[in-house]
């Protein structure tokens, strides 16, 4: 059986607060984005990792999140101009800690359905699982991974890789 898990692109940002993968081939069935994230933020405000598809900055994104902080579990909704992907490690957290984050996007290249994603995140303060929705039928050809806090920048050691998976 042929293997069907292929790297499309990878980035190791040492500054800035967004990474964009353009011209994503439509030849796969699903996409998986694996990130290991830490930012330089030191303020107490939240540091949310998020994504956008095809440069769409309209309020077409929503997500339901289940979160545990080690003592209680909660669930909440998020909606707006980006898709919530989790609270990630920053310079308030122990040095050397990078949040593992996996985004799985199914049937990303069809032009009929809205696009959904399952997100696993392991922040230093929270553990989260998210179900995300982009209310667009457009095929995904560009993905931007970003920090919603514009004052946050990725630090050295951060890695983001996008993989394509073929059903056959």
């Amino acid at each position: 059986m042929p293997g069907t898990y292929e790297p499309i692109a990878t980035s190791s940002p040492t500054s800035g607060n967004s990474v964009t993968f353009n011209s994503i081939s439509s030849s796969y069935t699903d996409l998986i984005i694996v990130s290991s994230i830490r930012t330089d933020k030191t303020s107490a405000s939240s540091d949310t990792y998020a994504l956008r598809f095809n440069g769409d900055t309209n309020s077409n994104y929503s997500a339901v999140i289940m979160r545990g902080d080690g003592s209680s579990a909660t669930s909440f909704k998020s909606s707006g101009t980006t898709m919530f992907c989790g609270e990630v490690a920053d310079n308030n957290n122990t040095s050397g800690i990078f949040s593992p984050n996996i985004v799985s996007i199914t049937n990303y290249s069809n032009s009929t359905t809205y696009k959904t994603a399952i997100i696993q995140n392991g922040g230093n303060n929270y553990l989260e699982r998210c179900a995300g929705l982009w209310r667009s039928t457009s095929a995904i050809n560009s993905i931007t991974l970003m920090m919603n806090n514009s004052a946050s920048s990725f630090v050295s050691g951060t890695t983001i890789t996008i993989y394509g998976i073929k059903a056959a």
């Binding site: 042929p2 293997g3 069907t4 898990y5 292929e6 790297p7 499309i8 990878t10 694996v34 990130s35 290991s36 289940m66 979160r67 545990g68 902080d69 080690g70 003592s71 209680s72 579990a73 669930s75 490690a89 122990t94 050397g96 800690i97 990078f98 949040s99 593992p100 996996i102 696993q120 995140n121 392991g122 922040g123 230093n124 929270y126 553990l127 699982r129 050691g157 890695t159 890789t161 993989y163």
Partner: protein, 171 residues
């Protein structure tokens, strides 16, 4: 473009059972690791413990979201323990022929940063309640990961328990 999701090794427990399932001499040539574990115990084991590089120091911390099919979910913190212990196992008292399942993902396992990982572990047995864990963990060491060992909290792994280690490259 090259395919980069490789099976490194599989361990399947034989008829005599096994006290551990271990991957040693893990190649340092991949970017990430993934492990799929299917486990059942010979006695009353409820968990398998994972130990990295033979390190038994208090260097393992976990945050868990927990549900069991009824009631609400809960979250638990386990800080500075000597292993990752949330890999569910079906004990010998559970429904026959059922095995727990877990998938663990470890990004950047050769880096000089501390090793952060995630795994989900489930224990469905067609009983009224069955636990499910979603876990984020950190091994508070900067060494590259070269070995991973699973050990039941009591007893042995039963026959047909298995684990497969995969390596994933980003180029």
């Amino acid at each position: 473009m090259a395919v980069t999701f490789y099976k490194i090794a599989t361990v399947t427990v034989g008829s005599g059972g096994a006290s551990t399932i271990e991957f040693t001499s893990i190649p340092q040539t991949y970017t990430d690791l993934q492990i799929a574990l299917s486990a059942r115990g010979t006695s009353t084991a409820l968990y398998a413990r994972a130990e990295i590089n033979g390190n038994a120091g208090t260097n393992y911390s976990l945050k868990t979201i927990y549900g069991e099919g009824s009631g609400g979910t809960a979250s638990q913190n386990d800080a500075n323990t000597t292993y990752f212990d949330r890999f569910l196992m079906n004990s010998s008292a559970y429904t026959a022929n059922t095995f727990s399942n877990a998938i663990m993902y470890i990004p950047n396992y050769t880096s000089s940063n501390k090793k952060c990982l995630m795994f989900d572990s489930v224990d469905e047995t067609n009983a009224t309640a069955a636990p499910m864990y979603m876990v984020a963990g950190v091994w508070n060491q900067t060494s590259a990961i070269t070995s991973i060992k699973f050990t039941p909290n009591t007893g042995n792994f039963a026959q047909y328990s298995s684990a497969t280690l995969y390596g994933i490259s980003n180029s």
